[in-house]
């Protein structure tokens, strides 16, 4: 089945968010449109008050018509502003500025016409040209703002001059100012100069401020993008390094596998050969020969264990255990470990006891590795105990499972305690059996599981032998 992509991705969703500059411009345009409603209302009110309350004489008809026209085009701009908000990124600024430009020119024309019908230079609202100048300076680029300021100055100058030279009739605000003021050259000049100065002054100040604001917004966006880019680069770099490390780790573990195989194969083969002789496949051997061959087998056994242990350490330290972890039942692990050790205990005449809860103890662990720890601790306990018993006790509390291996053996000398879990450490009170790596590997395994391991001697309960305890966090 072919999936229609058009149905999956909503079309109206913009490719990315509007920039701060775009958002600010749309917002300002909205404010300007709202202001226009207010001004229409104010014109209507001012007309009502001046004609009804102050009885200023002028014909109000044209004023209301102009108000109607302004209201009508403002409705259009409201709609346009809405479409702008949902507009496509990148085109918003251009569209908003074009719209602002049109709005201001329209407003200037309307104001000039309105002013003509309401007394021209006599009307103090002549200073409302400033409002458009301010709007233009806020909304539009500097050059456009200056052009519109010039347009305003030209419009008002044209109106006043046309009335001054009687090209168009002058509407007098009867009862508000004396007629003929519009023909007073010095006054007309004064008002025009003051207005023009104000218009240009405002444009200068406001464009300077908004220009700075716009620059800062752009700078902010640039910095943000730069920061994002750098972060992405750093992340990419870090992840490629992780991939490289993981690759190296894998190669190292494979290398260890080959080393183990190549070191052990000849030993294993040699041992097989010797056992063929010992089993009489090559004819009868004397007791002296048997003794020497058996010593040889034991030495090779020791060497095989040492190789396994030595190669285990880097395997554990490169995080191999985490890869082997599954949800396991610790009860099973304990049972399996002890199965192999029953024989050893029997040979030494030692009782091997287990206290294990009935209910399954679930932990997150590498079962073969935990079995290795238990085998190590229990075989140590058996080896260093000449009479009595070895007890394996498993208990649990809220957060972890605790495994104790308690023996009644020769115990550990106090001076040996601090070094017990060190690599190649062998107790001062034992013959040099073993590689001296068993406990240090056990410690690494337990710690890789997030647990702890420690020893006490003598066992605090029985005051004999020693007690090894390790914990594994519960799942």
């Amino acid at each position: 089945m072919v999936l229609k992509i058009d149905n999956v991705i909503p079309k109206e969703q913009p490719a990315r968010e509007h920039t701060p500059e775009e958002r600010a411009l749309v917002l300002r345009l909205g404010v300007y449109i709202n202001m226009r409603w207010l001004i229409v209302l104010m014109i209507v009110l001012a007309t009502l008050v001046s004609s009804r309350v102050f009885h200023i004489g002028f014909s109000t008809g044209p004023v209301y018509i102009i108000c109607g026209i302004i209201a009508a085009y403002n409705l259009g701009f409201v709609r346009q502003a809405r479409s702008l908000q949902a507009g496509e990124v990148g085109q918003v600024i251009k569209r908003a500025q074009t719209s602002g430009n049109i709005q201001i020119v329209l407003d200037l024309v309307m104001l000039t016409i309105l002013l003509h019908y309401t007394g021209g230079i006599e009307n103090p609202f002549i200073f409302f040209y400033l409002a458009h100048t301010i709007a233009a300076s806020i909304l539009l680029p500097q050059r456009t703002a200056y052009s519109l300021a010039t347009l305003a100055v030209l419009a008002v100058t044209l109106l006043i001059l046309l009335e001054y030279y009687a090209v168009i009739p002058h509407v007098n605000l009867v009862g508000f100012v004396l007629d003929s003021r519009y023909k007073d050259a010095s006054r007309v000049t004064g008002v025009l100069v003051a207005l023009a100065t104000l218009i240009y002054g405002c444009t200068y100040v406001i464009t300077a401020v908004t220009g700075e604001l716009r620059r800062r917004q752009k700078e902010m966006v640039r910095l943000r993008d730069q920061l994002l880019e750098r972060r992405t680069m750093e992340l990419e770099q870090a992840s490629s390094e992780i991939v490289k490390l993981e690759d190296e780790r894998r190669r190292f573990v494979r290398f260890l596998g080959v080393v183990a195989h190549d070191l052990q194969s000849p030993l294993v083969a040699t041992q097989s050969f010797i056992s063929y002789i010992l089993d009489g496949f090559t004819g009868k051997i004397t007791d002296g020969q048997r003794d020497l061959l058996e010593r040889g087998v034991r030495r090779i056994d020791g060497l095989l264990t040492l190789i396994t242990d030595l190669l285990d350490i880097p395997r554990i330290e490169t995080g191999q255990i985490a890869r082997e972890m599954r949800e396991i039942t610790l009860n099973e692990v304990v049972k399996r470990s002890l199965e192999g050790l029953d024989n050893l205990a029997q040979q030494k005449g030692i009782a091997l006891k287990v206290e294990l809860p009935e209910r399954p103890l679930k932990v997150n662990g590498a079962s073969r590795r935990l079995q290795q720890v238990l085998t190590n601790l229990v075989s140590n306990a058996i080896n260093y105990t000449n009479e009595g018993n070895v007890l394996v006790r498993v208990t649990e509390n809220k957060s972890d499972v605790r495994v104790e291996v308690i023996d009644s053996g020769i115990g550990i000398l106090p001076e040996d305690m601090p070094r017990l879990f060190n690599d190649f450490f062998r107790g001062s009170n034992v013959g040099s059996k073993g590689t001296g790596l068993g406990l240090s590997i056990s410690k690494r395994i337990v710690e890789a599981h997030g647990g702890k391991i420690w020893a006490e001697s003598p066992d605090p309960e029985t005051q004999k032998g020693s007690r090894f305890t390790f914990t594994i966090p519960k799942k």
Partner: protein, 125 residues
């Protein structure tokens, strides 16, 4: 059970293969040998042995790969496979199909014969 059951030994260690062959041939067994997994698989298909002794770590095709290919052959699936592992091999890796038993190297000749007899008997019964 056949008069002389056929046993396939797959191991890259020439010396070990020689002693295993010698041991098994001292009993009434016919022994075929292969020195890597690929060869072992070919011989298994051709000779249809009664039992296979399989080393896990081998060049060309190791025991894991061998076992995977082997498991896909319905004609071979009845043949018991005894896997030979030395100390630190196959750690933590699950075997892709059921091995009858894992035997740890070094294997004493008497043990080897006992295990082979045990599994042949099991298969025959």
């Amino acid at each position: 059970m056949k008069e002389r059951p056929k046993i396939l030994v797959v191991d890259d260690d020439v010396d070990l293969v020689a002693v295993m062959k010698g041991t098994l041939e001292s009993k009434p067994y016919e022994v075929i040998v292969a020195y890597n997994g690929k060869e072992g698989l070919e011989k298994a298909k051709k000779e249809k042995p009664d039992l296979i002794l399989l080393d896990i770590m081998m060049p060309v095709m190791d025991g894991f790969n061998f076992a995977e290919q082997f498991g896909k052959e319905p004609s071979l699936s009845k043949i018991p496979v005894l896997a030979l592992t030395s100390f630190s091999e196959s750690l933590g890796q699950p075997f892709p199909f059921q091995v009858a038993e894992y035997l740890r190297k070094p294997l004493k000749p008497k043990e080897l014969i006992a295990k082979v007899e045990e599994h042949l008997k099991k298969k025959g019964s």
